[in-house]
Amino acid sequence: MGSGNGELLNLTLKVWRQKNSKAKGSFETHQLKGISTDMSFLEMFDVLNEQLIHEGKEAIAFDHDCREGICGMCSMYINGRPHGPKGAVTTCQLHMRSFKNNDTIVVEPWRSVAFPVIKDLVVDRSAFDRIVASGGYVSVNTGNAKDANNILIPKPAADDAFAAAACIGCGACVATCKNGSAMLFVSAKVSQLALLPQGQVERKERVLKMVQQMDEEGFGNCTNTGACEAECPKEISLENIARMNREMIGASLK
């Protein structure tokens, strides 16, 4: 009984189809009837896929898992914007009440050199995992920890670290950036650990290693367009990039 209130939409969908990473892709057009405004965007895709299977055609591949905006798996580029027209939501949280009857909706995969297409709307984001593996951690083996309350953390620092740590690793920031830069993603992790006492020992080394890995993965340079912040479903702030730039300077000076 949401504000959509049972309204039904007829839609035209233009969806990117690509058999595999090597194939050349193209758009495919589908008509959908009677889509409830209470549906989520991915539920609308479920309906489309059921329709395709019924017609004997292969379903459209897309990434998704939690469907509640936290796993970072869903990744559709909708009408020219990652995660669609609404700010601060993931594709799976977007609901059809954000669309109108007879709308045409264009859906593409994330497009970026560092995120090759696997199939249809599915891309390979493993570069993010490799960046974290290069230094996005505190080196503490299990069993070495002191009592948690021995580390006092002022609430503002804890809150800022938490805000940066809220990144879901979806890659929308990269997809929207004309340079394909991963600065927002990397700076969020660098910031989280730079703000906390636990992250101090490896602070300089961490930022250098993560930025080096980022460059090796083929992500572009940041030219401060701010598109990433505007499209980030978790509203990760550009301040993180500024902080990372300061961290870089600090680390290079030694």
Binding site: M1, G2, S3, G4, G6, S36, D38, M39, L42, D46, E50, I53, A59, A61, D63, D65, C66, R67, E68, G69, I70, C71, G72, A88, Q93, I118, K119, D124, R125, S126, F128, D129, V132, S134, G136, Y137, V138, V140, N141, T142, G143, A145, K146, A148, N149, I151, L152, I153, P154, K155, A158, D159, A161, F162, A165, G169, L193, L196, Q198, G199
Partner: protein, 673 residues
């Protein structure tokens, strides 16, 4: 009753508070040089898998990790909202290891093992220390100390949290520890891989068959031990708070290779989820139990009251949990709260269009917080609007992301109108049977986290699954795995000169090829049926049977019918399912076909387990067994055991019983009044 000889729980001797510490300091160890030649396969990268893999790699074992998502960071642990328990007693409110142990056993309705649960409570504190050391930003007070909140079924504040994203933060902590080991080359990561079978040789687990989900390639992986950390099976109900990909396949295939399945019918229906909005619904979204700290649950006193909730005066509202359970009020355990909501809705007092919902209302505590904030700010005679504004800020700070999520889904603003909520399938207490070492009935095969049956009895208390997953991975398996692997070390040295020893053959052993062929044939079978109905449609139908007949309330007739219906559904599936595309490509529909086939078989076993358990306990409510006031009626004389099912062949299982012994806690009728 004596336990079945096939089920040795291996609980160490001695007083409860010394069992683990003594065992831990006397178990066999594996020396560092040998660790490097031992390979461990960890299937799953959630809290249990990531913590186990990182820790075992730190210790020197060669580790491989598998997950079906594109990154280990996306395991469904990421979605846990409310918090994680630990007996730190930071609030000085009388908490202790014993109290956490006691609450967990009682919460589980006296159907969990004392030895396991005590160990869990014991290591709970270490978990918080470990996570904080990793940089997990748990909530803090202004003085810089950690903050706590309350969860259901307890009267102390022992729950640590990170806003409504506790699982995310804990998982990212474990993921970073895991990635550190990946970076160091100690862990090999196999993301977008689905385990399809366990390979057993001479009765021992020796590896797995996995499908590379990108290329469709079928792969053989060898391991001296295999750890299944593959999560719960709530998706057997189709609609649940689990992720779309959550499945039982790994556990189920292990079950068919000899691992007994413990208490399959124990499922948890969570009381506070966003209600179903229509047939298109693909999953349900939880509204964290932590909301019950500040939200009061009510329905109108009048049936079919169609007024707006804000127009219904206080005296015409029935705060039924506070009425029925004055001692715990809105914080009764989940099973109790869920049944109470169902009872009100069935009796005609439900709200919303479907009438299958109750209100969760924050107005009262918004005002209360507003007044406190006004006092803190030294505002004298603040206006009502000012109080409400300040109160909303506090609510936002505590639950902001949950309120946003609610608004996204329903289109309603929960700061202004009460949330509408209804119970939904959330967690499965049942799982692979394991002993104290977390080993299944197949030597060398382990189960950790939600995938095992171990610590929550018939009902899990909130904030204790995160605790269990991390306890298993960080603090239990690193010790208990050595018990088995030290034996492997001896065997390896005895077989050093044997040309066809498993250590030399590894995946060249014929059993690997056999398993690979079987799984390849299965995949080809799905693709060759070319029927008329989608995989999805079978899943939906299975879910409906399970929810109607093996859900919140169960009875003999319904369960008997369900078993017949599920068997018929299975036959229809194998005749008429339509799976398109190829085996050698990325093919989500094919992945799902395998998962649904396994869910159908599991569904039948769940109904059989529910049918055989002629009592009500925790999340398992048999309508035939209730007190006059509708409370669950346990039968300790006949059912104080773990039901562990051995797979024989299709539709055929043998029941084994592990008797539960209570030496430290006096078993009693559970009461939250």
């Amino acid at each position: 009753m004596a336990s079945s000889p096939k089920l040795d729980s291996k609980i160490p001797e001695g007083p409860i508070d010394q069992k683990w510490s003594k065992y831990r300091s006397t178990v066999a160890l594996v020396n560092p040089a040998n660790k490097r030649s031992l390979e461990v396969l960890v299937v799953g990268s959630g809290l249990a898998g990531a913590s186990a893999a990182a820790t075992l790699a730190e210790m020197g074992y060669k580790v491989k990790v598998f997950c079906f998502q594109d990154s280990p960071r996306r395991a469904h642990s990421i979605a846990a909202q409310g918090g994680i328990n630990a007996a730190k007693n930071y609030q000085n409110d009388g908490d202790s290891t014993y109290r956490l142990f006691y609450d967990t056993i009682k919460g589980g309705d006296y159907r969990a093992r004392e030895g396991n649960v005590y160990r869990l409570a014991e290591v709970s504190s270490n978990i918080i220390d470990q996570c904080v050391a990793q940089g997990v930003p748990l909530a803090r007070e202004y003085g810089g100390l950690l903050s706590n909140r309350s969860f259901g079924g307890t009267q102390v504040q022992r729950t640590f949290y990170a806003a409504g994203q506790t699982g995310q933060q804990l998982l990212l902590g474990a993921y970073s520890a895991l990635q550190r080991q990946v970076g160091m080359g100690a862990v090999e990561l196999c993301a977008r891989h689905e385990m399809l079978d366990v390979v057993t040789i001479d009765g021992k687990a020796r590896g797995i068959i996995a499908r590379n989900l990108i290329t469709g390639a079928m792969e053989k992986h060898f391991g001296h031990a295999v750890l299944l950390c593959t999560g719960g099976y709530g998706n057997v109900f189709y609609l649940s708070t689990n992720a779309m990909g959550s499945n039982v396949t790994a556990a189920w295939k292990a079950h068919k290779k000899g691992a007994f399945f413990g208490n399959p019918c124990y499922t948890q229906i969570h009381p506070t989820c966003i209600p179903v909005s229509g047939d298109h619904q693909s999953k349900l979204t939880l509204m964290s139990e932590s909301l019950r700290n500040d939200g009061r649950i009510w329905v109108p006193k009048k049936k079919d009251d169609n007024r707006k909730p804000t127009d219904i005066p206080e005296e015409e509202r029935d705060y039924y949990l506070e009425r029925r359970y004055p001692a715990f009020g809105n914080l009764v355990p989940r099973d109790v709260a869920s049944r109470a909501a169902k009872e009100r809705c069935d009796a005609g007092y439900g709200v919303g269009a479907s009438k299958k919902a109750v209100y969760l209302d924050f107005a009262f505590n918004t005002i209360r917080y507003g007044k406190t904030e006004a006092a803190k700010l030294n505002l004298h005679n603040p206006s009502q609007e000012e109080i409400v504004r300040l109160g909303k800020e506090v609510i936002k700070e505590k639950y902001g992301n949950l309120f946003d999520m609610y608004q996204q889904i329903t289109g309603e603003n929960p700061y202004e109108v009460p949330m509408r909520i209804y119970p939904a399938v959330h967690y499965t207490m049942g799982g692979l049977w394991v002993d104290y070492n977390l080993m299944t009935t197949v030597p060398g095969l382990y189960a950790l986290g939600e995938a095992n049956f171990s610590d929550h009895g018939a009902n899990r208390l909130g904030a204790s699954a995160l605790m269990q997953g991390l306890a298993d991975g960080y603090f239990v398996i690193p010790y208990t795995l050595g018990v088995y692997l030290s034996g492997e070390v001896s065997r390896m040295s005895a077989e050093k000169d044997k040309a066809d020893s498993i250590d030399k053959l590894k995946t060249k052993h014929p059993e690997f090829d056999k398993a690979l062929e079987e799984q390849t044939a299965l995949i080809n079978k799905f693709l060759s049926i070319k029927g008329t109905k989608s995989v999805e449609s079978f899943h939906k139908r299975l879910g409906l049977i399970m929810w109607e007949k093996c859900g919140m309330a169960r009875n003999k007739q319904g369960l008997t019918e369900a078993i017949g219906e599920i068997q018929a559904l299975r036959e229809e599936f194998w005749k008429d399912v339509r799976v398109l595309g190829d085996a050698n490509e990325f093919n989500p529909d094919l992945e799902k076909a395998g998962r649904v086939a396994d869910f159908i078989e599991l569904g039948e076993l769940m109904c059989k387990d529910a049918l055989h358990r002629e009592e009500s306990c925790g999340g398992h409510f048999r309508e035939e067994h209730q007190e006059a006031d509708g409370e669950a009626k346990r039968d300790d004389e006949h059912f104080k055991y773990v039901a562990a099912w051995e797979f024989k062949n299709t539709s055929n299982w043998e029941l084994h019983k592990e008797e539960l012994v209570y030496e430290n806690i006096k078993i009693a009728q559970r009461s939250y009044k």
